[in-house]
């Protein structure tokens, strides 16, 4: 397959069986060049199995997989030069320093990034001379990230890259991933932080029990789900929930004096509500909550689980 405008990753009807049990069951998706693709799913859904097949670490049972045009089951050296990995679990040699470790990996690539620049980029500038064994968990994770990008790859697999990071370190990692995107890198990202894919991913795929339940942009998946927005405010004194329900002509939930109205389109409901309240009632704490990716994720992965 040629790469001119075609997929960086193409997966068709991928299957992986372990002793008769299908861990991955007929998964198909494409990742476009230069795209940040978020791969989500609860534990045990087959995320890691899929990413390991794409990375060439695991053989597949059936299906067609092309990563940068190459079957990862038959990897070539040129192919490996263009792939960068940040594995989920990777213990590094504790007796080497950060600079020695990154330098070691850099030495295998034909045109690596500069070692010190990569270390700086990964937020480890102050630890370059420290031994890996002396680093904290989050710092070790950043060494993993440095090793994934030091070869200046075209396609980067990030398997839960910010696990164990504190909030500011996560922001730093996001900025770095944004920077990689700006350089035109294709990024395949698994994470269990919903805000992470919402912030970073151009498109996402959601995996449940070995099958894809959704593929698309966050907005597309949200629209397909028709997840309701929620209008929320404090119930004004002397008013009952039924009064509010009569105004908006929708069911109303009340808990601890907080009114919640679910609606697919909040604009007309808000209009009726504010017109009714204008000059007579105060709607304290009025806000509209859009469905978050987390809501969609839970809706997709739990609603169907009840059927299955």
């Amino acid at each position: 397959m040629d790469l001119n405008g075609n997929a960086a990753i193409r997966v068709r009807n991928l299957h992986k069986a372990y002793g008769g049990h299908d861990a991955v069951h007929g998964v198909s998706f494409d990742v476009a060049p230069g795209e940040v693709f978020g791969f989500l799913g609860p534990n045990g859904a087959g995320k890691t199995t899929t990413i390991e097949i794409l990375e060439g670490y695991r053989a597949r049972t059936a299906g067609d997989v092309r990563v940068l045009g190459v079957d990862p089951g038959k990897p070539t050296r040129r192919w490996r030069e263009r792939i960068g990995l940040v594995l989920q679990e990777c213990e590094l040699d504790p007796n080497l320093t950060v600079r020695e470790t990154v330098g070691l990996f850099a030495s295998f690539y034909p045109s690596p990034l500069r070692v010190d620049e990569t270390i700086e980029l990964s937020g480890l500038g102050d630890q370059a001379g420290s031994r890996v064994g002396a680093l904290s968990g989050g710092q070790k994770r950043r060494v993993d990230v440095a090793l994934g990008i030091v070869g200046d790859p075209d396609l980067i697999f990030l398997d839960e890259p910010t696990t164990g990071f504190d909030p500011s370190a996560r922001r730093g990692a996001w900025a770095m991933i944004d920077g990689l995107r700006r350089l035109g890198k294709t990024i395949f990202l698994t994470t269990h932080y919903m805000d992470e894919v919402q912030h970073l991913a151009d498109r996402i795929a959601i995996l449940r029990a070995g099958e894809l339940v959704a593929v698309g942009s966050v907005d597309e998946i949200g629209a397909g789900l028709q997840a309701d927005a929620v209008i929320r405010f404090r119930l004004p004194g002397g008013i009952t929930a039924d009064d509010v329900g009569a105004v908006v002509a929708r069911p109303v939930e009340l808990a601890d004096d907080i009114v919640r109205i679910r609606c697919p389109d909040p604009q007309p409901v808000l209009y009726r509500l504010t017109t009714w309240a204008e000059g007579t009632h105060r709607l304290d704490g009025l806000e509209v909550l859009r469905p978050t990716l987390e809501d969609m994720f839970l809706a997709l992965t739990t609603a169907r689980a009840e059927h299955g």
């Binding site: 263009r82 620049e117 075209d154």
Partner: protein, 300 residues
């Protein structure tokens, strides 16, 4: 902790996605070998850097040879008489050092196996599989760095030997040939150690298995005592044991007492050739098995 935004924004690395097809032509055989050598050297340096950062891991080739030499020279050696023209303590010290060189060969098995399991346990070896390097280079890097530590071990043993009266009575060419034979078979054995390191799941298990092999091969040999006093069936094993051949080669080449030269067994009459044959055989069997075991890890 600073968000590293600025450096990447200024990086001007070209985006090579469309212009750098993944399926390039395979490298020619000459280029492939040169690259294998380069990758092996990088990975050897990795292991050696690790040792430099944690020198206490070297005790098996520094303190241990000294202790072994002194233990055998003064504890067991005090009760060992080689007999005939080789009688006396001084003769035993001359005899002993080549035996310890033979022991180094079989000791390599445990050294490499433990180093290999340690690397496997951490996942580092698995991480290397994703790199654009030859599978053999990862394993060769391990064996070459063990070769380097073995050179150190031999130097320590030789220095201790010189201190207790061992001498080389021939020329530098013979002496270097003896060391070359020891290192050749040690290097071959470390490929068997790589296989053990991948078969056993922990360093402890690999160490114990290696020790079970070390005991009969190391001690049922002429390394410490001549084989002529052993029961007949044991003599046969000892005379065909490659450790005996290494020790006998060294004794010949150093001009040290070598009672085995009068034993009517082919390996004792041609110990140098026998050692080389063993080295070739061990590499021919275990190097491909090691690469196969390493590759197989990807297929689960």
């Amino acid at each position: 902790m600073t968000p590293p935004t600025a450096p990447i924004a200024t990086t001007t690395a070209p985006v090579r996605f469309a212009t750098n097809p993944a399926t390039g032509p395979a490298p020619g055989p000459g280029g492939g070998l040169a690259r294998l050598a380069r990758e092996t050297w990088i990975l050897t340096r990795r292991s050696l850097t690790r040792i430099r950062n944690e020198p206490e891991t070297l005790s098996d080739v520094t303190i241990q040879p000294v202790m072994f030499t002194l233990l055998f020279a003064y504890v067991f050696g005090s009760a060992i008489n080689l007999g005939g023209p080789f009688g006396g303590t001084a003769a035993y010290h001359e005899y002993l050092i080549a035996g310890l060189f033979g022991l180094t060969v079989i000791g390599t098995l445990a050294g490499t196996a433990v180093g290999m399991t340690a690397d496997m346990e951490t996942g580092l070896i698995d991480r290397f599989r994703s790199l654009p390097i030859s599978r053999s280079a990862v394993l060769a890097g391990r064996t070459v760095s063990d070769l380097v530590t073995n050179v150190l071990g031999l130097a320590v043993t030789a220095a201790t030997g010189l201190a207790i009266g061992w001498r080389i009575h021939t020329g530098p060419v013979d002496a270097l040939a003896a060391l070359g034979l020891v290192l050749l078979l040690s290097y071959a054995v470390s490929w068997a150690g790589v296989c053990m390191g991948m078969v056993f799941r922990s360093a402890e298990a690999a160490q114990q298995a290696a020790f079970i092999i070390f005991l009969p091969l190391g001690f049922v040999s002429n390394a410490f005592v001549p084989t002529s006093g052993m029961p007949g069936w044991l003599q046969a094993f000892a005379n065909w044991n490659p450790v005996s051949a290494v020790a006998a080669s060294c004794r010949n080449l150093f001009g040290n007492p070598n009672p085995a030269s009068s034993i009517d067994a082919w390996p004792m009459q041609h110990p140098e050739a026998y050692t080389v044959l063993w080295a070739i055989g061990v590499v021919a069997v275990f190097a491909p098995v090691a690469v196969y075991l390493y590759r197989r890890r990807a297929r689960s």
